[in-house]
């Protein structure tokens, strides 16, 4: 298997005291969309800056497409695109000029330049504003311009540090739709940092959760959630008291992991709630237990985070959101 990213025992200590990365091991397969999910200060940016050859690790190794990020930095830089967490375009020139400057920096041949820039602008829905100063763009447009810059060179892997930070849900959706088309068309690997759980959930093929410089869990979104034990279906029945014997038939179903009864409700733990529900309903009907209400409760990534990192990060996420949004606004 061709690995896009391979990280071994990576440690980064800032100024001899802040242990931002504390022994990270990670692999990312080619062609996948990979999310590094973690709260404020978890070390996401630090990891990405090492992978993009900006800073050196204190110890450990990292490879991008088999190239060592410390010793073969210039070769790595030929293959990657990177969008930092902060705004990274010039606001006092137009969107088109930004792309032109980057096209020249990337040494894109003269005859291809116009076509590629046009394509990137088109892909990102910026054709109409290409000659406006970036200063007049909205946050979402700036992010799309940055992605257009990143697309110019048709990289093998894109590193995106919080690509939709500070964007409203509609703008986020638009950005990701375009990223996904690009990913499919050019088979680019996408490595992105995020602290939005739903973003990781929706747009990542694989997720690694980072907390305090350590990878505490990794897998697909489904896999991570299922690793918590399964999904819970709760039935409220009209027949009281519930007779445990009546439930014998349900217990026999192979996918049922556990059952608990409380007053008028029966909770059943299964692997997949949607698939299991019809079978259980059938049994309940046969047993003449009329159901008045059904509810399904699935584990969220937040639950996953709680389990593996021992803390929730919803609240923290919101605070950092505000900070980041400010940072985006304070542009120019």
């Amino acid at each position: 298997m061709d690995l896009a990213v391979q990280i071994n025992d990576l440690v980064k200590v800032y100024d001899g005291k802040v242990r931002a990365l504390d022994g990270v091991n990670l692999t990312v397969e080619t062609g996948k969309s990979f999310a590094l999910l973690g709260p404020n200060g978890a070390g996401k940016t630090t990891l990405m800056r090492i992978l993009t050859t900006q800073i050196k690790p204190t110890s450990g190794e990292a490879h991008v497409f088999g190239l060592n990020v410390v010793h073969e930095g210039s070769k790595v830089r030929e293959l990657i695109s990177y969008i930092p967490q902060e705004m990274s375009v010039w606001t006092d020139i137009s969107g088109y000029e930004n792309l032109l400057v980057y096209a020249k920096i990337f040494d894109i041949p003269h005859h291809e330049r116009e076509k590629l820039i046009h394509e990137a602008l088109e892909n990102m829905g910026l054709i109409g504003v290409k000659d406006d100063l970036v200063r007049t763009y909205s946050g979402g447009m700036i992010r799309r311009l940055e992605i257009a810059c990143a697309m110019l060179i048709k990289p093998r892997i894109m590193f995106l540090d919080e690509p939709t930070i500070g964007l409203d849900p509609a703008a986020r959706k638009a950005v990701w739709e375009r990223l996904n088309v690009f990913k499919k068309d050019y088979e680019v690997t996408i490595f992105f940092n995020t602290h939005y759980m739903d973003e990781a959930d929706l747009y990542a093929d694989e997720i690694a959760i980072i907390s305090q410089g350590k990878i505490v869990a990794r897998g697909t979104s489904e896999g991570l959630k299922h690793s918590l034990g399964g999904e819970l279906i709760t039935f409220t029945v009209e027949k009281i008291p519930i007779n445990a014997e009546n439930l014998g038939e349900i217990r026999k179903l192979h996918f049922v992991k556990d059952i608990s009864i409380e007053d008028t409700s029966i909770s059943i733990l299964v692997h997949n709630a949607e698939d299991s529900l019809p079978y259980i309903m059938d049994v309940l009907r046969n047993e003449r237990m009329p159901v008045s209400k059904v509810s399904i409760s699935k584990p969220t990534l937040d639950d996953v985070f709680l389990k593996y990192a021992g803390m929730r990060f919803e609240e923290k996420g919101r605070i950092s959101d505000v900070v980041h949004t400010r940072r985006m606004i304070r542009r120019g």
Binding site: Y14, R49, T52, T53, Q54, I55, S74, R77, E78, I80, Y82, I83, P84, Q85, E86, M87, S88, V89, W90, D92, I93, S94, E97, V101, Y102, K104, I105, F106, D107, L133, C149, R331
Partner: protein
């Protein structure tokens, strides 16, 4: 190497584009040297206290006050690297295939573009108020080239200084704090012979003095006897600063 050179040209092009979109700054920065030339120059000149070697005092200080402004512009420009670190521009530039030193040298030389346009605003005004220039286009061109390269060196100097700064606060203040001592301890307003000996010693290490001397020779007096020394001094200054700034870039990134 070729790539690095191309990169520097792109940085220069970028700067032209930025200037094209917003020219107010070079206009407003022209005010200060014009005040020097229209008020300070005639007043001091009428006192006839300063030996200028035969040229009118206002003419004598014109290169100096102009270079003070272009130097200030390029020093501020270098300091913006700190700001570009805060925004993601510098980070993104460092992840392009361009060699790191070309980012430093390219950004520095781009400040020379600003400096030249600054000079091109100030010089016609000086001419209009009666400053007499050596009527030789080659000299004129050479003077602009000197200003261009020297600005690169000053911008690199301020990148070096910026690498010790943690935030972008006190930006302007630092720009002034670097420029003013260089300006007053140079031959911009008075000939070196008039200075106390300690200051004269210092002035021998002051790059601004060499720039002023070269440009004054080329534009005002036509006396090029020390031009070669000036150019060598500026070259040494530039190479030293480019090297130090490239090395210090690591500190800006981390």
């Amino acid at each position: 190497m070729l790539k690095a050179l191309k990169n520097m040209l792109v940085m220069i092009e970028l700067e032209m584009r930025r200037l094209w979109h917003d020219r107010t700054e070079i206009y407003s920065r022209a005010i200060q040297p014009i005040l020097w030339m229209t008020i300070y120059g005639p007043v001091m000149g009428s006192a006839r206290a300063i030996p200028t070697g035969g040229v009118p005092y206002t003419d004598f200080i014109t290169p100096g006050v102009m270079i003070q402004t272009t130097t200030f512009v390029s020093i501020l420009y270098g300091l913006t690297m700190v700001w570009e670190r805060d925004s993601g521009i510098l980070k993104k530039l460092l992840v392009t295939p361009a060699p790191r030193y070309s980012v430093v040298v390219g950004r520095s030389m781009a400040s020379g573009v600003r400096a030249i346009f600054q000079a091109l605003i100030i010089l016609p005004i000086a001419f209009a108020i009666g400053v007499r220039f050596v009527p030789n286009p080659t000299y004129f061109l050479l003077a602009l080239i000197v200003i261009f390269f020297a600005s690169g060196g000053f911008a690199a100097t301020s990148i070096l200084i910026a690498s010790f700064m943690k935030t972008r606060e006190r930006f302007m203040g630092i720009g002034q704090a670097i420029t003013m001592p260089l300006f007053f301890a140079s031959n911009a307003l008075y000939p070196l012979q008039m200075m106390p000996s300690i200051l004269r010693e210092f002035s021998a290490y002051n790059p601004l003095s060499y720039v002023v001397d070269a440009v004054r020779g080329l534009l005002i007096t036509g006396n090029l006897s020390s031009l070669l020394i000036d150019l060598v001094a500026i070259a040494i200054f530039n190479i030293t600063m480019f090297t130090l700034a490239s090395v210090s870039l690591r500190r800006i990134i981390e």
